[in-house]
């Protein structure tokens, strides 16, 4: 008898131990209050020594003189800066392969190939990114639909914010086809789609005429394109050269799509057209390109965010994990501020604007009452190179703490002191 109770006692202990060691953060509390020396709300002005009241994951109140209810758990952020989490409007990393090799595959989705344990998501969380739209790459004409995920969660379902959100169209000719061939393939696909829809409609009206039950579904491979035409999906059109921008705008007008332009650095030449079209823009990760001035034979630096900023175009930044500075969104914003962009505009283009572009600005992008309590606790000003992301809170729950970041420790501390002379690594 005693032994059985003994076993049960040990197993309970074991379960408790496993639960806490997995590192599940403290259970989600109903009421929270965040006290910070500076709150960057993005929506309004910065608040000095402000308080944010959070109730089951959504922000109840923000302000300097908000009094904290007695039962709220207080999170201290005395000498830290609190700001909304960064949002990435377009990325193709985090997938095992960026795109299919058949040109027209609008029916596939990145949801099926997001790899939760990829270091890309771990790095994004460490760098303060809280939501990203993962879309296929630029090598297929109709790449497929995208998914919005947060970089936290052990399965794709846990990471999910919005499943079926964007459709990727790339105007860069893949393989050895020319631009003419590429555009012709797009036009042919659209005419075939229109013919198919007409036939479908025709069959539907025939069936109604004869009052026969009509249960034919739209062909699954064409469903995403139909949603695109009915504005249920947003088209993300990648322009490889400045000459592609007028084509993208023409596609947007003829088929009446909600469109976001994903631009390569060369597209700064078409900034006038883009400004007139009032379409949202996602810039390439390379923010500075060099052009040779033909007359003076000098090298001129073209700062692309400034060109778009002066033309009054709202844009979001992208990152490139392989390049040194350009893997951080705050570095991209800082580069734009370096060449003259206003600070809060730059901060908006890494928080509020991308959230608006991918349609999650009802929950993310700024610290306002009613929005989801997703925020970063920074050690200093976001654009200062020496400040680190100390903690990340998603929906009221602290999901990342720098103190507990093993990989970061290993990367910054020197190796263990005891070092055998004949190191055989």
């Amino acid at each position: 008898m005693k032994s059985r109770s003994h076993i049960t006692f040990v197993s309970i202990l074991l379960i408790v131990f496993i639960a806490s060691s997995i590192g599940y953060a403290a259970p989600v509390r109903k009421k929270l209050a965040v006290q910070a020396s500076r709150i960057i709300t993005i929506a309004g002005k910065d608040i000095k020594n402000g308080v944010i009241l959070i109730e089951d994951g959504t922000i109840k109140a923000v302000g300097a003189d908000v009094e904290i209810p007695w039962d709220a758990f207080v999170i201290e952020a005395k000498n830290q800066v609190v700001m909304p989490g960064f949002v990435m409007a377009h990325t193709s990393s985090g997938l095992d392969r960026e795109n299919e090799n058949m040109p027209e595959v609008p029916f596939i989705s990145t949801f099926d190939s997001i790899d939760p344990i990829s270091t890309f998501f771990e790095d994004s969380l460490r760098d303060g990114i809280v939501a990203m739209l993962v879309l296929p790459g630029n090598n297929t004409l109709l790449g497929g639909t995208g998914t919005i995920v947060k970089p936290y969660g052990r399965t794709v379902e846990a990471m999910l914010i919005k499943r079926y959100t964007g459709l990727k169209i790339s105007l860069r000719p893949s393989g050895n086809t020319s631009r003419m061939g590429h555009m012709q393939r797009f036009r042919r696909y659209m005419t075939e789609l229109k013919d198919y829809l007409e036939d479908y409609q025709q069959r539907k009206t025939d069936a109604e005429e004869e009052k026969k039950p009509f249960d034919e579904e739209i062909d699954v491979t064409k469903q995403s394109m139909v949603d695109l035409l009915n504005k249920k999906l947003t088209a993300f059109i990648y322009c490889d050269r400045a000459a592609d921008v007028p084509k993208a705008i023409e596609i947007q007008k003829t088929h009446g799509l909600n469109t976001v332009l994903v631009l390569s650095p060369d597209c700064y030449k078409a900034v006038g057209l883009i400004a007139k079209s009032k379409l949202p823009v996602v810039l390439d990760s390379q923010l500075i390109i060099w052009e040779t001035n033909e007359q003076t034979n000098e090298e001129e630096m073209k700062v692309i965010p400034m060109i778009f900023h002066r033309a009054g175009v709202k844009f979001a930044f992208q990152t490139d994990a392989s390049q040194y500075g350009r893997r951080y969104l705050w570095y991209q914003a800082a580069t734009a501020v370096k060449y003259g962009m206003k600070r809060n505009e730059a901060l908006k283009s890494i928080t509020l604007y991308p959230a608006q572009f991918i349609g999650v600005d009802n929950r993310l992008g700024s610290i306002e009452t009613g929005k989801e309590a997703t925020m970063l606790f920074l050690t200093g000003d976001p654009l200062d190179a020496q400040s680190w992301v100390d903690r990340v809170m998603i929906a009221g729950e602290i999901v990342y703490e720098r103190a507990k970041d093993e990989r970061l420790k290993k990367l910054l501390e020197p190796p263990l002191e005891i070092q055998q002379p004949e190191d055989t690594d």
Binding site: E299, Y324, G325, A334, K338, A385, L411, E413, P414
Partner: protein
């Protein structure tokens, strides 16, 4: 015909001596001057005449008629020295017909029109070291240049500045049949493994030693190697992994060589040995993870705070853009080094005076002192801040970018 040539050279010499008119003085009034060699000066003045700094300090009266550069809300620092910059050379950097090419002088191949030069000036770099490629075991003689001048001769400050030796696996690639010859067992290039590399290095130094002892040297290659043995020319060793660094140290101890390590990605593992031997290190760009599959397969273990650890251990550390064109500008490299743990003063020294000392041109560049070249960078704020912009670059007294 011969008289005509002599007359011509005489004419040219005369025209060089006549000073081009009275050299007008430029004065820079700056909010903050980071002299690097001394304490930073607030609200100081720098006087420049004939390409050199004549006066620096506070309370210096500006002679009338001097062109005044107003930088009072700005920060002024000496021109940046990049100890391994993207080479302004067209075509291949390596003489691949042979693995040991000490006599190769990269200064013959400098391209004054190269776009990389015009761009690197705009990031604040005013002196750079150009080394031969990384495909040969002994690559050849590098050169210290300034990114100005119409013809390579005008660019060169110090020729034959250092001998480049590569201790990583790069020399084992590129083996192929020479043109027009039947395939023989030894192709164009012999080393297939690290052992072969070290053997060939030892053999060349051994031959050089024999030659120096026997006093008569015909082979020009061995002549260079013997002057290296006599420490007249420093050696730049490109080594990334700890195993390569240790192998080089062994060879260096055998022949008493004066070394400087380039790139040194895993330098943090051997920080003590480097500090003991007082070997300076030029760090290339740091990697987040092994950047490419090649680096991953090579088993390279990366530490972001490489610069900080080496500096703490007392090694003379210089930061550089690492020879990849367009990868990173050097001020960003210094900013990230400080972010990952290096002390900010060390970082500023690591891009100015330390590389100048390593390259042996500290008498002319590297800090703002009297008598040094007037290479000055004017920035909109603290150099180690990403939102600071390079406003103006002055090279040899002339403004080259604003």
């Amino acid at each position: 015909m011969r008289i005509y040539v002599i007359l011509l050279t005489f004419l040219m010499l005369v025209s060089a001596f006549v000073a081009p008119g009275r050299a007008e003085i430029t004065a820079i009034k700056a909010g903050k001057i980071l002299t690097i060699s001394g304490e930073p000066i607030t609200d100081g003045v720098i006087l420049i005449e004939d390409g050199k700094i004549t006066e620096i300090g506070t309370g210096i009266d500006i002679p009338e008629g001097a062109a005044v550069v107003d930088a009072d809300k700005k920060v002024v620092m000496p021109g940046i020295v990049d100890a391994s910059a993207p080479a302004p050379v067209r075509g291949d950097l390596n003489e691949q017909s042979n693995e040991i090419t000490p006599t190769l002088r990269i200064s013959d191949a400098l391209d004054p029109q190269s776009k990389a030069l015009k761009r690197i000036v705009q990031t604040g770099v005013t002196t750079l070291f150009v080394s031969p490629g990384r495909q040969n075991i002994i690559g050849g003689l590098g050169v210290v240049v300034k990114p100005t001048g119409k013809v390579p001769q005008h660019m060169v400050i110090k020729d034959e500045a250092a001998l480049t030796i590569v201790m990583d696996m790069d020399p084992t690639q590129g083996n192929r049949i020479p043109r027009g010859q039947p395939p023989v067992n030894f192709y164009f290039r012999r080393p297939g493994t690290r052992m072969a590399i070290i053997w060939m290095l030892r053999k060349s130094f051994f031959d050089a030693q024999q030659q120096t002892d026997s006093e008569q040297i015909e082979d020009p290659n061995l002549a260079i190697l013997s002057s290296v043995l006599k420490d007249e020319i420093p050696i730049h060793v490109n080594a990334r992994r700890a195993i390569a660094i240790r192998a080089t140290l062994k060879v260096a101890d055998e022949y008493g060589l004066k070394l400087i390590f380039q790139e040194c990605t895993e330098g943090y593992k051997v920080a003590e040995q480097l500090a003991e031997r007082k070997i300076p290190v030029v760090l290339g760009p740091f990697y987040y993870y092994p950047g490419s599959m090649g680096q991953y397969r090579e088993g390279r273990k990366v530490n972001w705070n490489n610069a900080g650890i080496l500096a703490e251990a007392g090694v003379k550390v210089a930061l550089s853009s690492g020879g990849q064109p367009g990868a990173i500008d050097i001020l960003t490299a210094a900013t990230f080094a400080v972010r990952h743990g290096m002390d900010s003063d060390e970082a500023l020294k690591a891009i100015t005076i330390i590389p100048a000392e390593i390259l042996g041109v500290a008498d002319r560049v590297g800090s703002l002192e009297k008598g040094k070249d007037a290479d000055i960078v004017i920035l909109s704020g603290d150099p180690l801040n990403v939102t600071t912009r390079v406003e103006k670059v002055i090279l040899n007294g002339k403004t080259v970018y604003q």
